[in-house]
């Protein structure tokens, strides 16, 4: 972190620098500051805070908040049993999944881990409403994504490749060797996973592979399937469906006679390919630095990826240690996705979330329903893609509703919050400047502060509610 420290030391606005840099860090490696977070980060020091986030220790307080969400821990077979006993239970199952996502983002101490779980789920996207995915998405995130979010890329890749949710979503569970019956070829292959494995999960569409490589990649995974879609929902390898002929995938020769390990060999090969190091590093830099990250950050992250055998923690550390990352504290910011906006707004007002259903409905209206990106591509990583009038109207209304305490499943007391932060809840100017100082690192613009300070005294809706709603609905809250 020495490079980072030197950047901070020479930055141009010494009076502002502390809180502004702390807010930048909280916005980029987490879902933004809660009241008190800026001061906590400054007291602890940036290096120590980053290290704690990379370590991601146990978080018993979060665990206790999640304890009531019983289906979260179910294996797929138990979810299926519940559903088979009463189909209405699917509403509870999906509600608990959504609620857990919001609670983790809003209340979790390990913010970086939550950001990365979201990032990797989206990278290895499955669409929760797609048939069997309804019963296996919670298990997929819990077992294939979360344990490896800060781990080794190869482990993450392997966990997704063999998980029934992915096998179902990209149809690999149906893929089998083609056969010859009565002199005619009967197609058995399904190319879907083989293609997206290369295009979306590892080396990227511009790596230079061909249709023949896609075909052979899919052949490597023939026989990787699901034992039973309606009762147990476990991975199974069926050797009788495996294509045992030789394959050639983008420089990897797979000799004839292999079995399940044909797929494992291809995962080894792709995870270690320089194309994957670059593709993954660029996407991470887009998340943490900017929509068009500087080449230097991407290259140094990719070098770390290769040197460490795809150690995600090390790659993220490299990005967070770059001068470019810290310089962004003084840039114009990256537009937030709807999830980032919603979670950061909830955190900003010190909200307590008990149920995520209403919040999830807002996200749907903003164009980002949870776990519901239909194409395998996942949601856009570019902030600018999320700005449009309809979505923006829902953002402003979310902010106004949140400040007014009008969102079901969420409690927020902005008057009390302003008072606790030392502001005068009856005075518009005081509320606005308190929020600017404690939540935005003094980052609210003069025009936003001026407008919020014009809130009239008295009236049926309290000054604190109106000013807070306006500050969250205003332009600075839309970027991180």
């Amino acid at each position: 972190m020495s490079a980072a420290a030197s950047v901070i030391g020479t930055a141009p606005f010494p009076a502002d620098i502390g809180p502004r840099v702390a807010v930048h860090l909280l916005n980029r490696i987490g879902f933004g500051p809660r009241p008190g977070d800026v001061e906590r980060v400054l007291a602890r020091g940036l290096d120590r805070y980053v290290q704690e986030q990379l370590d991601a220790p146990a978080d018993p307080e979060l665990d206790s908040r999640l304890r009531g969400l019983t289906t979260l821990g179910y294996p797929v077979s138990q979810v299926l049993a519940l559903y088979n006993a009463d189909q209405r239970s699917i509403a509870t199952i999906l509600d608990e999944l959504n609620t857990a996502k919001i609670i983790r983002a809003v209340h979790g101490q390990n913010q970086l881990q939550e950001v990365l779980v979201d990032f990797w789920f989206n990278h290895f996207n499955v669409y929760v409403q797609d048939g069997f995915a309804r019963y296996s998405t919670a298990a997929y995130e819990r077992d294939a994504i979360r344990p490896y979010a800060l781990g080794r890329f190869r482990d993450l890749l392997g966990a997704t490749a063999g998980h029934p949710a992915m096998l179902y979503f990209l149809d690999n569970y149906l893929s089998r060797a083609s056969t010859v019956v009565n002199g005619r070829i009967v197609q058995g292959l399904n190319e879907n996973y083989g293609r997206e494995l290369m295009e979306l999960h590892t080396i990227g569409v511009d790596a230079g592979y061909t249709q023949e490589h896609v075909f052979d990649a899919a052949r490597c995974f023939t026989g990787w399937g699901i034992d039973n879609l309606s009762t147990s929902g476990r991975f199974v390898y069926r050797p009788q469906f495996h294509d045992r002929d030789a394959k050639s995938v983008f420089g990897l020769g797979v000799p004839a006679g292999g079995g399940k390990d044909d797929g494992d060999k291809l995962l080894d090969y792709l995870a270690a390919h320089p194309g994957a190091a670059h593709f993954i590093s660029k996407k991470l830099a887009e998340r943490f630095v900017s929509d068009d990250p500087p080449v230097r950050v991407v290259e140094s992250a990719a070098a770390t990826f290769q040197a460490t055998g795809g150690d995600i923690r090390a790659v993220v550390r490299t990005i967070l240690s770059s001068a470019e990352f810290w310089a962004e504290a003084f840039g114009s910011g990256k537009p937030k996705t709807p999830l980032e906006f919603v979670a950061s707004s909830l955190r900003a007002v010190d909200a307590q979330v008990s149920n995520g259903r209403a919040v999830a409905a807002y996200l749907q209206n903003m164009g980002m329903p949870l776990y519901s990106c239909v194409p395998p591509t996942g949601y856009s990583n570019r902030g600018a893609d999320w700005l449009n009038p309809s979505s923006h109207l829902y953002r402003m209304n979310f902010a106004l509703d949140l400040a007014a305490g009008a969102i079901a499943g969420v409690s927020a007391d902005v008057r009390g919050m302003v008072s606790r932060m030392g502001g005068n809840a009856e005075d518009a100017r005081s509320v606005a400047s308190t929020i600017s100082a404690r939540i935005f690192g003094n980052g609210l613009s003069a025009s936003t502060l001026a407008a919020a300070s014009r809130v009239a005294p008295g009236g049926p809706v309290s000054v604190a509610v109106r000013v807070t709603g306006l500050c969250l609905a205003g332009p600075e809250m839309q970027a991180r």
């Binding site: 194409p375 009038p389 109207l393 919020a452 809706v461």
Partner: protein, 404 residues
């Protein structure tokens, strides 16, 4: 002409707006009126995401190879809606046959991109930018089209979509919305103050955040002050509740409200990526599509003479069935064209055939019409623009001659 009626409605809406409390005087409505004077024709593009299978949309049942290639998912001669003895519509598209017979609906088969990508993302990007193989194009094809049309009302270009579609990417303002209803701030008992102060925060701000805020309030100005935008469908038209249904219902509303709309993009994120168990997925989505198109035509009535609809997708699917009763990513697809100037009742396009040697890379229906020729033809007819230079690096040809 119905349009003159709706333009009067529009001007009444503008008068209301001028006296509305909290309304900031704006030239947007005036510009919308000018645009309505300049042209009344509308281009509607429906984009089916995921790679819709043209060989199951418009089925070449008369091609001897079809049944061998499609095997278990082939539809029988008696199942398809026979169009000309060679092609037939998928049975779920049967409601479109009336429009086809009336000469208001046509199909264009074997259309696509010679600069092929079987990646969803790339193929969509290439089609929407109109520059296959070039990812650096900073604008979308509809944005370039609309930029050549006079006027720049917030309702000139509309996208029914969760996000700004790549086709509209560029400096022209676009109203992006999933729904036009309740387009208002929720601030009970302090709405006027909230609007005034939020406008003050966004006005004059030059960055992307200022732009989106300003566009939001401009849209609010128009939508809240034009009650006709919420008019129910005419002539008993019943739209399906699907995405394409609700989007086309709202497209008809905004067209009928006469707000100078010239280009509408309808994003349809359905189950078109049919790698497995294709038949039920196609039956569901084609029913939704056909019912929505029929309702749209009925709702617009005579105004359909000014509105052209083109149904597109990023690529077709492989000619042969895969191992999962589905089809993997392919090449050429089939477009549906309906409405203004469409010389319907025909399946256009040169048929490349389905024998092994005729297939592209021995697997896909080959492209015989560049999608840009078809897009340019519709844009020329509907927007009155010179579309020969609409696609950087490509001189669009005379087109397939579908639109008069």
């Amino acid at each position: 002409m119905a349009w003159d009626v709706s333009r009067r409605v529009f001007l009444r809406g503008a008068g209301l707006a001028a006296v509305g409390v909290g309304f900031h005087p704006s030239s947007l409505l005036v510009r919308a009126a000018q645009a309505a004077e300049a042209g009344r024709r509308v281009l509607v593009q429906i984009f089916l995401r995921g790679g819709c299978d043209g060989l199951n949309l418009c089925i070449p049942f008369g091609d001897a190879e079809y049944y061998g290639l499609r095997g278990a998912i082939a539809l029988g001669r008696g199942e398809v809606v026979d169009l000309d003895g060679h092609f037939g519509l998928h049975p779920a598209l049967a409601p479109l046959k009336v429009l086809y017979d009336e000469g208001r609906l046509a199909l264009l088969h074997a259309v696509g991109s010679y600069g092929l990508s079987r990646s969803h993302f790339d193929a969509q990007d290439f089609m929407e930018s109109g520059t296959p193989g070039d990812k650096t194009t900073s604008t979308g094809w509809l944005e370039r089209s609309i930029s050549r049309v006079p006027g720049n009302a917030v309702t000139e270009a509309v996208a029914f979509s969760a996000q700004l579609p790549r086709s509209f990417l560029g400096p022209e303002p676009v109203l992006v919305a999933q729904t036009l209803s309740s387009f208002d701030l929720r601030a009970r008992n302090w709405r006027g103050e909230a609007e005034t102060l939020l406008r003050a925060m966004y006005d004059g701000r030059p960055d992307v955040l200022g732009k989106v805020g300003q566009e939001t309030f401009a849209a609010m100005d128009v939508l809240l002050r034009t009650p006709e935008i919420m008019a129910p469908p005419a002539a008993g038209a019943v739209y399906p509740g699907s995405t394409v249904g609700s989007s086309l219902r709202q497209a008809a509303q905004i067209i009928k409200a006469g707000l100078g709309t010239r280009a509408i993009f309808v994003n349809v994120p359905g189950s078109f990526d049919t790698h497995a168990n294709q038949l039920p997925a196609n039956a569901l989505e084609f029913t939704r599509l056909a019912d929505a198109l029929v309702a749209f035509a009925r709702d617009l009535g005579g105004m359909l003479d000014d509105v052209a609809v083109m149904v597109t997708t990023e690529f077709g699917r492989a000619a042969f069935v895969n191992g999962s009763a589905g089809t993997d990513h392919g090449s050429a697809h089939c477009m549906i064209l309906m409405g203004a100037g469409v010389r319907g009742g025909r399946v256009y396009g040169s048929w490349p055939g389905l024998s092994r040697s005729q297939l592209y890379q021995e697997r896909d229906l080959a492209v015989t019409t560049d999608f840009r020729d078809a897009f340019a033809e519709v844009a020329r007819a509907q927007l009155g623009i010179d579309s020969s230079s609409l696609f950087p690096g490509y001189a669009a040809g005379p087109g397939p001659g579908i639109v008069a």
